[in-house]
């Protein structure tokens, strides 16, 4: 609803500007066709809008044989993100960011999303926003437990950093060295999953056309969330609460379907979140913890649980007597449900490095080792990015799943089995981005 309201606002604005132009044209005795120059018209209508865009060509190569029928050993896709922004006054602005990816192998990965269509009214004492927006909560680097406003755009990248736009009405209240945020979210976004042709999935395809909801209002349940953040002398503290539809669904296998599929099931949850950060010299100490009620676990039994992640980030500047910087992160992850967690990052240790060459091409190398704490399973991610000129960026990424465990000792399907299903999905990816 809010989305259409906002698009209407932009549309009306365009009409007003065009009308202004054409009334000038009709002011003469006869209609002056030269005054209706289309280029001039477009320019007038877009005057004041900041227009930008990004286009990406991405190719993935999977060296290992696919495990499941329909999967390919390589993948190509194109993506486009456009951005229009206009500031109408010091306090009022509109922003519109559509995104589209076309995937040549996996239909499910071809998707359109409105990342933002947001109207913001901001004053020094109050901020009110309406529309589709992206909000990030959290402090840690490897997993984001507290972050819950936006649905994960799971088919974009396995690191779960990409998010789908979320419709909301929001209110922000600046406090003395703090901030209070309140969000009402009327429209739930389902998580997307790879289709039959896609890699990085389990044995069964998730049927995203037939989602199940705990609540009778389904995807129109009004979720709400609040967060109170306080800056301290050497750190930050935030407390948050969310009540509504879980962003991460349980996947259940219905009986009696002609071919076995998984259906996403979205439960109603209540979640309390805590974020803490302490800064001392080059050290950043971080902690995120959640307590969640109301969601079934992997065995589909409702299990209230807590989960936490924390560690440190340490930066060394000017390594090797050069201008290069090295950042190191070490984080632990613990989910009380352990084997019954809905994620294979249930009990892990993460070691990461960011090596910035600080050269003129802004070359960076990222390495991330995610080690399962109760088995030898691990993931390894290596990412190299560099810029060519001011408008082109190239990213090379490798992801390796290693020694993924099939089952626990008892032979049940466990959190770690999720990773085991993707054991053949190591990949090498190259992406070229053009920014305009």
């Amino acid at each position: 609803m809010a989305r259409w309201l906002l698009i209407s606002v932009i549309y009306i604005e365009l009409i007003i500007v065009s009308l202004g132009t054409s009334s000038v044209a009709q002011g003469g005795q006869e209609l002056d066709w030269a005054a209706l120059d289309w280029k001039a018209l477009d320019w007038e209508a877009l005057d004041g809008w900041e227009l930008e865009g990004e286009a990406f060509a991405q190719a993935r190569y999977f060296p290992d044989n696919p495990l499941y029928i329909g999967q390919h050993s390589q993948n190509q896709s194109l993506a486009l993100e456009l951005s229009a922004y206009r500031k109408f006054s010091d306090s009022f602005s509109l922003e519109f960011i559509p995104f589209y990816r076309h995937d040549f192998q996996d239909d499910e990965r071809s998707h359109l999303d409105i990342r933002k269509a947001y109207a913001l009214w901001a004053s020094p004492t109050l901020e009110i926003g309406a529309g589709i927006n992206k909000v990030f909560w959290g402090v840690t680097e490897a997993v984001h437990l507290v972050d819950i406003i936006n649905q994960t755009d799971a088919i974009e990248a396995p690191d779960q950093e990409e998010k789908l736009g979320q419709a909301m009405v929001s209110l922000s209240l600046p406090l003395p060295s703090g901030l209070f945020d309140l969000y009402l979210m009327p429209n739930f976004r389902e998580r997307n999953f790879p289709g039959e042709d896609g890699r990085l999935r389990g044995a069964l395809v998730v049927d995203t056309n037939n989602p199940l909801y705990e609540h009778k209002d389904k995807d129109h349940h009004i979720d709400w969330a609040a967060r109170l953040k306080q800056s301290l002398k050497d750190g930050e503290l935030a407390l948050s609460y969310f009540e509504g539809t879980a962003r991460d669904p349980n996947l259940i296998m219905p009986l009696g379907t002609p071919s076995p599929v998984l259906l996403p099931y979205y439960s109603q949850i209540k979640q309390l979140g805590l974020e803490g950060q302490y800064i001392k010299d080059e050290w950043l100490w971080k902690l995120e913890a959640i307590y969640r009620k109301g969601q079934p676990n992997l065995q589909f039994e409702v299990e209230d649980y807590y989960a936490m992640t924390g560690g440190f980030e340490y930066n060394i500047y000017s390594i090797f007597e050069s201008s290069q910087d090295l950042g190191i992160i070490l984080e632990g992850i613990y989910d009380q449900r352990r084997d019954n967690a809905l994620t294979f990052n249930e009990e892990d240790i993460v070691l990461g490095t960011r090596w910035s060459l600080n050269n003129m091409h802004s070359t960076e190398v990222l390495g991330l080792w995610i080690q399962d704490a109760d088995s030898s399973a691990h993931n390894f991610v290596l990412e190299l990015s560099t810029e060519i000129g001011n408008s082109i960026a190239v990213t090379v990424e490798a992801l390796i799943f290693s020694e993924q465990q099939r089952n626990s000792d008892s032979g049940r399907f466990t959190a770690d089995s999720i990773g085991h299903q993707m054991r053949q999905d190591d990949y090498l990816q190259i992406e070229i981005g053009y920014f305009f």
Partner: protein
Amino acid sequence: MRNNLSNPPFHFLASILLMIPLLVQAETAEQKGRAIFEEIDRRDLNFGDFSSDQEMILRNKSGQESRRIMENTVLEGGNKDINDGDKTLIIFREPKRIRGTALITHAHQQRDDDQWLYLPALGRVKRISGASKAGSFVGSEFSYEDLAPQEVDDYTYEYIGDEIFAEQDCFKVKRVPVDKDSGYTQQFVWVDKSEYRIQKVEFYDRKATLIKILTITSYQQYLDQYWRPGYLSMINQQDGKSTDMIATNYVFRQGLTEADFSENSLRRAR
């Protein structure tokens, strides 16, 4: 004679007489050096706030170029409203991959600065370590501390002498950073005598060798008081790399407040 000399009244008189030349000279080299920078500071008081557009051109040894464009906004600290250092907001425009990325720094006099980075692609405000002074600023020859607002107490000073630089009569002052996180052991600074503007800085790295030379030109005066540079050239003396910075569109006193430099304002920085 000996007795006379050692009697108390004579001692007193002698010490008074000995002090006269000291009182006339008034300043040691340390005091004079510091006084020059106190005068620079005094002349820049009460600017309130200002913003400017900055373009950096990075060059490597083989002459390859790369460009960074950003908007820089500064709120004066230490005034009636803010009992602390300056606050700055930098919004990046180029390279386009990082456009919209914004950095807020709250400078502090007695402890590390507070810094927040806004990453627009993730919608994330990330706290970063303010101890990163010596690190390169977006791959340029400028480090964070080269661009940070300067406080008088950030250094100890020693006046070296007078020198002509760029046809201007200058003070030459040696200054030593107080902060252990600084990337420098010492700097030589040339300040013109007529308007107290920094004309040239020689930077010595932690091994006490000359690493960089900064020359500042194209100064313009704003509001009939505040001098701001139009052109800064930083040349690395060891690896042949250089960065030119061109600053334009200075606007003073837009009536900015602390709220414009808060974490919340970062999220809507454009």
